[in-house]
Symmetry: D2
Subunit: 350 residues, 4 copies
């Protein structure tokens, strides 16, 4: 079987690099195009990345000699994975969709559009069919699907078994987010060494609104949002990879702590929907008091796990716990790939 050809938009940034790395040996996908700003275009990826490759392993061989192109809808690929900055993603992604490309985007721009799916396959794979409404409504041959904000993803995966088993009324979350979530160059070192910054521009709004769409109910042409309340406080800390989130929840139905714990441990979504990048355990529950920790746990399930720990009663809501996840893999590049895999299984590409 011929592989599906993939173009990466924004291939030089942190998320773009991670896509390049993760797609080195994919069973279904083959990277045929790397696109970036016009400053980079025309040189090989290896040349462009000489002093910008920021991952602790070398540039994959396959990518080194690919000539970087501009982000124009003339790429030779079936699907575009977009790691574009929000400053340019809006127009570029629409141009690609209009021109007939499938776009699996990590950018925030289209996430909350009424006709664009905001997908986490373990939660709302059915939302993918909103694509039909999008194409009908916009008159596009191609289409756009999106993955959520990096903090949203891990929180929602942790919430999913609670939502399914007990219902959700309220969610409070305080995040401690990694530097790589801010892109590159991102946070100046003078601002964060020996410091915490209790603010990330625009982040709390994403964490508070995206979950309601993700857990919403799909009915052919639209998604009716879920109706629990979310309140977020987002902080930047001096950690390279891995967002840590302290979550408290009020459930709709009474639940014993053993049942909540079991819900985390027994979470096996999508019995039939096993995608190549699906983690075997989307939720890994760690029992030690002092876990999860970015340093020790961020790479569980190859960075595709949402790692939960410290479940205990909450004196204000019902239960509280900690969830940690890799912001660049499960929280961004891996999420876009997983969505692309879902598109293939659903017949939208390939």
């Amino acid at each position: 079987m011929a592989k599906i050809s993939v173009g990466i938009l924004g291939a030089t940034g942190m998320v773009g690099q991670t896509l390049v790395q993760l797609l080195g040996k994919h069973p279904w996908f083959e990277v045929t195009e790397l696109a970036a700003s016009d400053k980079s275009a025309g040189r090989t990826y290896e040349e462009v990345m000489a002093s910008r490759w920021n991952i602790s392993s070398e540039i994959p061989e396959y990518a080194k000699d690919i000539k970087v192109k501009e982000c124009l809808p003339k790429l030779d690929c079936d699907i575009a994975l977009s790691a574009l900055d929000s400053g340019v993603a809006q127009a570029v992604e629409e141009d690609f969709a209009k021109a007939g490309y499938a776009v699996s985007s990590n950018a925030k721009n289209h996430r909350m559009d009424a006709d664009v799916p905001l997908l986490i396959p373990e939660i709302n794979a059915d939302h993918a069919d909103l694509i039909k409404e999008q194409q009908r409504h916009r008159g596009w041959k191609g289409f756009i699907v999106t993955d959520p904000n990096c903090s949203t993803i891990h929180m929602c995966i942790a919430l999913k078994p609670l939502y399914d088993n007990f219902g959700l009324e309220k969610v409070m979350v305080t995040t401690m987010q990694a530097l790589s979530g801010g892109g590159y160059p991102g946070v100046p070192s003078m601002d964060i060494v020996d410091n915490v910054i209790p603010f990330i521009n625009d982040e709390e709004d994403k964490v508070e609104t995206e979950p309601l769409k993700i857990f919403g109910r799909f009915s052919k042409t639209r998604i009716d949002p879920a109706d629990f309340g979310v309140s977020a406080q987002c902080n930047r800390v001096a950690v390279k990879q891995g967002h840590t989130e302290c979550v408290s929840v009020k459930l709709s139905r009474k639940a014993d702590i053993e049942d909540v714990l079991a819900a985390f441990k027994e979470f096996r979504p999508n019995g039939k929907l096993k995608l190549p990048s699906s983690p075997e355990h989307p939720i890994v529950y760690l029992k030690n008091d002092n876990r999860p920790q970015p340093k020790l746990d961020v790479n569980l399930e190859n960075g595709m796990a949402s790692v939960v720990g410290r479940l205990r009663a909450c004196g204000v809501l019902d239960y509280k716990f900690v969830v940690l996840g890799h912001n660049l893999i499960r929280g961004a590049a891996g999420a876009a790939i997983l969505n692309a895999e879902l598109l293939k299984v659903k017949g939208y590409i390939g």
Copy 2:
């Protein structure tokens, strides 16, 4: 006027060092004794601290030649400021109180004893009079007063104007606590560089229970605890000084955000009770979105401020905000000194 003589118990630890530093030029107090474990006893403070002084300024001249003694109630001083580890504080502090010393303690051991005041002068100066019941009940000539946990103190100071103006029903807090709060040697560097540890032993319990006593109602022989709910999640981050806390509150009475903001800004407790170490503004409110930050704000009011910022509506409770404070100064050593000053004003010492 002769100064009141002070002995420091546990003078070699992080809090003890901070006491030594802060008491260098005190208008009322003079350090006459430095006490520590028997390993240190017999040498001068300068000798003992040669490779342990951990503050970015030199050992004060006055302290260098003081001969360190054991923590036995034979010290030549009127009041003992205790920075002892909880492992030894219980017995030592009781021995001093029995022997007639006033003890202002930073240790956790006696904080929740029914007859021991847990004092923050800006909040509950009247609780000091519980000393009489303590002496009556225990038959001691001396007595013990305590200051709260370092995270508790800053949170409670920030809550005080809300409590007074609008009443409090619920408080959720997630802390990001500094390394120096863990004492010395404390957290191994391998555990915290490029990491967050979502657990501090015993800490959440303190932050959840102490505020109810602090805001409790004093009636001659006892304190009836306040009855709002508190839920805490405590984390360690790679910051040297300054605990950052993300707080959400549900108020008893409806309040506009302008009124809550004004309550923070106009907080002037203890109109008449101006102690030498009292900060002019116990709460400093910063208006920039990305403040307070440990690096920039921990030393406001000489480390005696609780620095608040980011007040905004909370989608789950009523309002949320961030409070930051110096854990070793206002959160520990400065708190013990302030309590000692209160004792003098109230006539319990001097």
Copy 3:
């Protein structure tokens, strides 16, 4: 006596901020003008710095309401202290000097010009008289003096007593330089948390060439460079303030270690030349094996000391030691102020 009016060029950067802070209470100088790029011009310093002030103390009151101007030679001041980026310093400083201003610069651009003094008052105060040749040669009414690179300064101060007492043949230095030395935004946090970068653009060349001019011999119209050899390896580390330098030296004359130690400890330069910002001890020698350290020692002498420790024999050259200093104070802003003070004493301003 009326104070000398000072304008700060590049007042918004790291060095500029430090100048603003240090000049708050100067006995001879009064800041009358703050200048920066045209983006900042027209607003008050407080407005401009709202989210850029990067020092752990508030903006001094005196500076808050000063209206920031462009860096044009129309400022109302006697002397311009330049903290400009090297990208613009060349032309701007020359424009000011042509227009009759005295310029004390921290920029690298003019340091190695044959007719521009490169001054460290404790070492080569006599070089200031090169100003006359500069004015004659360039036909300027004003003039430019410079201070050295931040690593060069501390190394040279440490070398001065060795040079005077024993002569110098060879110097090897490996630096571990603080983040603030890279300006703002400077080093991206992703690049330096949990990392060392063994390269700082252009830095080794400065550290290898500037000392020869500094220790050179002045003879009316020129400086004949000293002739020892210097080799530098410069690294960036995750430290906010303070460059640490491991130095090895080969002396011209044999010296016992006790004599070298005494030379450090007894270094009292410029018996008669006591400037307001002169540290009492330009070299502070610490005897503990594990000192100096940025965290503990960078603020000695208000950041104006070069802190030396660990003197011991070197198996390849003669002796080795460690020197640490504050890169923004003694290494930049404080150096420019000290040079301005020297200019006044020498009668070139005021």
Copy 4:
């Protein structure tokens, strides 16, 4: 072929954990015994390590159920890999050797013993035959071989092609060493966050003396040390893994920089001696100015490379460069394993 059975002494420390991890899938070796202090003995390795496993991947399955034993010479294994603290290594390793075990040690205790090989297979594989003299002289059935200090190893590997091609006269090195090199708990976080410590106890002596033995000439019963001079300055920095070393060398014979560069790049030691853990390229030379860096390069060749960069002329000696290496893998655990592999090839075990 049956595998050689391995016991790990000191299996719970940082180096011990790394041995457990690296030996999970070894072609020749099988871990049959894990030994540690008597506090750990009697429980399974998983139980013992519950809150001490410090590596970002889970405990290998094979090790979890092994019952930890005391470090007594009654273990069921052919060879003991020792990661013991120097406080206990002396006696324990001798007891094992006396009892007939082969010991490949990472401890410093026996490194400089005249009859104990200090091995780096790429440099001095022939020294292994000193075992015969050791057994003869001490009357042991077993024997001890050692690997060098973690900083020494990487420096010596980088020096080897220079030594072979041009001879060595002098070596100056300044190290910036990772936290994991200090063991666990090791350096307190309060001491190193936002700091550099210019001192590591006993380290400089090791780096200055061990190379002379490693490059020494073996003649049946003894090793005549090499005679170049080494001077070291050792620093601790806030990096988790990877020692960075700035090296300057004086060669015995004149060499063009192209030849020195070629010597690094073409270094292929031990043409015939290909061990399972041998890196394909013991030296990896990186051409970018700002490399090598711990964050990006420490895992090259699975942590078994010595990564060199920044070769340039030195104004005091001849050439200078930077070498970086993984201190726990190539610098400790991997070195002990490589030496064990050498012992098998040489017929001393298996």
